[in-house]
Subunit: 398 residues, 2 copies
């Protein structure tokens, strides 16, 4: 039998990666990144957009990052789905808190896709379209109900990307007339599906003409940049995953997932980083489990303990302000996300939230019809037997 | 300076991966996979669908694979976008050529997304919608022209996946009424955009009821399966990438790309394979360059030599029957795809096609406005200066 760790001590000069191991909000993911970032020269985001939120505490100041990598006071690059108007706001807010000189340090990928206002609107209109379809009582979750997205337009932007009429940062850097025409065409394409879309596309075009000049100095071929930095070998690189593996479009609890790959593969597809340069992969694990929005959650606690965890743990979303659902730590889930990512280290957070509980449970096994499931199932929604999913727990008394 | 190969001799028992290093059709990609497959116990596909085509020559027989992995006579798994009705046809054709017993060896991922007839129809209708938009002569490529897709419905299926109303194999395995309702809802959603969609969805539902039973024994949690096989350590695993890096949705010549990640990251997101288990990454390189469909092609030869390569090299697509565009080998492109994938070995194919040429060229550098570009550019379409992209060549006389 082969042991599962093939490279037990990866070269510390390789790229470090921080990933959420549950449904996001693993607590100090931002804190860990900030800690590691202080030893790093380059900090990168690789997927998602401003659907993610991290709060970084630094002395008496709270920085609140959505698109920006957590080490915004360091050289860093953004290599994702970018909403440029909101990125300006995010930068301004952080400037007000004393971050300066970022112009020389923020790099934006020339291949990133742009979020437009109609992408955000579409997020809402899709829900409206869904609401027109009758829901059927036989389903544990009605089929076309809201997915509980953050309504930042990230899903529709990934959809434009796949449809291959998405508009990228590089388009904004090229001939502006071509950019304007691409944007008009994309807007018209959306109008075909959603005639109720509002907004004056010519105003958006004028706005982006200004944004082009604001961001031009930062736009870089981040693939070539990152690979050059790695080969030079004198800089420490950190990648900050947004969202978390259980929200991954392929491995998460589909369809209640985000629109991108937030597991290790998304780091490669986002940055153009070859696997041989991957060093430590840190999995951030909260001592219990939380989830924002809809979807299956086997260890959820719909009782006083759940309320206690929510209150004591301040479990309220940074991006949306929604209360997080709370439940026990789930090792079946953790084994699954560890299998996919191959974590080399785990960072356990928020143990103190459990301080006042006399009994703590940790789920170890799922059973269905008496049989032990060998992994986290592909779908529990459609099986009609969420109630039939029995969990075995370890109980810790104190 | 760090050398670029950190693991020069990866453990041969790790997972081997074959990827196209150009725009697909690298020649013996299928042949190499077949060669390696004969030493492998498990052969996997990880992305795309039946937009890809491989021809495997075996004695006097020609096998023609689209969704099936090339080692179909071996245990193998399909972990992609599957068109089940067409997979039945593909299996039947191969059965007729003498492949038997595949039922015990073919595994289909429970998380794969299903292609439906309306996805295929949509591929055509999107082009029709595009054709209604006036094309503008100022653009080197008109903005909304056909992308030259294979029209297999793969793009729209990836789009359903991202919109999170996609229907997966696991749905077909669960409560059939729930599956039927999901399918009706997805069809109605497409009808909102494309009222002209044809077909009787109830007929499709009836067809899938039969397909569910045909495929049920093969449906597996391939993530858990593959990881178990790796940890057992006694089986050799091979992954066969479809399409190629220059067609990758993130790294290719967007928008003239396929709808999935066909570089190394797509192997991880497709299979749930942690990076530590990656062994050899074979890049398949044709001794010249070809491209099917539209999009930039810097070394393209629109002359007698191009025609010679097309004819001598039998450059006609396996999936679509289209003639391939031909040009010189491009090392700028190869450096780029090698940077992204980190190839540990290159497999050079079809050198013999160049036999009769007195002079062979190999592009080494791109220049724009006299400046050398340091990597393959994010976009050459929107720069108005495809003609301005000067190539430096090495010329081989004989
Ligand atoms: N009680 C407690 N709270 C923590 C701990 N680590 C982080 N938090 C809080 O958890 C909240 C979410 O943290 P954040 O970094 O935004 O989570 P992220 O989305 O995973 O990056 C913040 O209010 C943090 O102050 C911890 O170890 N104990
Ligand atoms: N002349 C020549 N033809 C080859 C060679 N290798 C493959 N081919 C042919 O190239 C065509 C495309 O091969 P295929 O395996 O379908 O390409 P793939 O899409 O990259 O897998 C087939 O007709 C092969 O017979 C070679 O080394 N020399």
């Amino acid at each position: 039998r082969r042991t599962s760790t093939v490279h037990p001590y990866p070269d510390p000069s390789l790229v470090g990666i921080v990933l959420g191991a549950q449904w996001g909000d693993e607590g100090c993911k931002g804190k860990l990144v900030d800690l590691l970032a202080s030893e790093s020269d380059v900090v990168c985001r690789c997927q998602g957009g401003n659907n993610a939120g991290h709060m970084v505490h630094c002395g008496s100041l709270e920085y609140d990052f959505h698109m920006l990598p957590s080490g915004f006071h360091l050289p860093n690059c953004v290599n994702i789905i970018v909403n440029l108007p909101e990125l300006v706001d995010e930068i301004k807010k952080n400037e007000a808190k004393g971050v300066t000189d970022w112009q020389k340090r923020l790099l934006i990928s020339d291949r990133a896709h742009l979020v437009f206002d109609f992408h955000k609107q579409t997020d809402g209109l899709i829900e409206k379209g869904r609401a027109n379809v009758p829901s059927f009582s036989i389903y544990p979750f009605s089929l076309l109900r809201s997915l509980g997205t953050t309504k930042k337009g990230i899903g529709p932007t990934y959809s434009s990307k796949v449809t291959r009429n998405g508009v990228r940062v590089i388009d904004l850097m090229g001939d502006f007339d071509v950019f304007a025409e691409k944007l008009r065409n994309l807007f018209n394409y959306y109008k075909m599906t959603f005639p109720d879309l509002e907004g004056d596309i010519e105003k958006t075009i004028a706005q982006f003409k200004e944004l082009a000049e604001y961001f031009r100095p930062m736009v870089t071929d981040t693939i070539a940049y990152l690979n050059r930095v790695i080969l030079d070998g004198d800089k420490k690189i950190l990648v900050e995953g947004a969202n978390a593996t259980m929200l991954d479009i392929d491995f998460g609890t589909y369809p209640y997932v985000t629109s991108s790959n937030c597991s290790i593969g998304g780091v490669l597809t986002g940055l153009g980083l070859a696997p041989k340069f991957i060093g430590d992969i840190y999995g951030v694990v909260k001592a219990y489990t939380t989830r924002v929005g809809d979807g299956i959650f086997p260890t959820e606690l719909n009782n006083d303990i759940g309320v206690h965890l929510q209150t004591k743990g301040h479990e309220i979303g940074v991006t949306t302000g929604r209360k997080r659902r709370c439940g026990w730590l789930d090792l079946v889930l953790l084994r699954y996300t560890n299998m996919i990512n191959g974590f080399t280290a785990l960072c356990l957070t928020k143990l103190d939230t459990l301080d006042e509980l006399s009994e703590i449970k940790v789920a170890t096994t799922y059973k269905r019809h008496g049989e032990i499931l060998n992994s986290f199932p592909a779908s529990v929604d459609t099986m009609h037997d969420i109630e039939g999913l029995l969990l075995s727990f370890i109980v810790v008394q104190r």
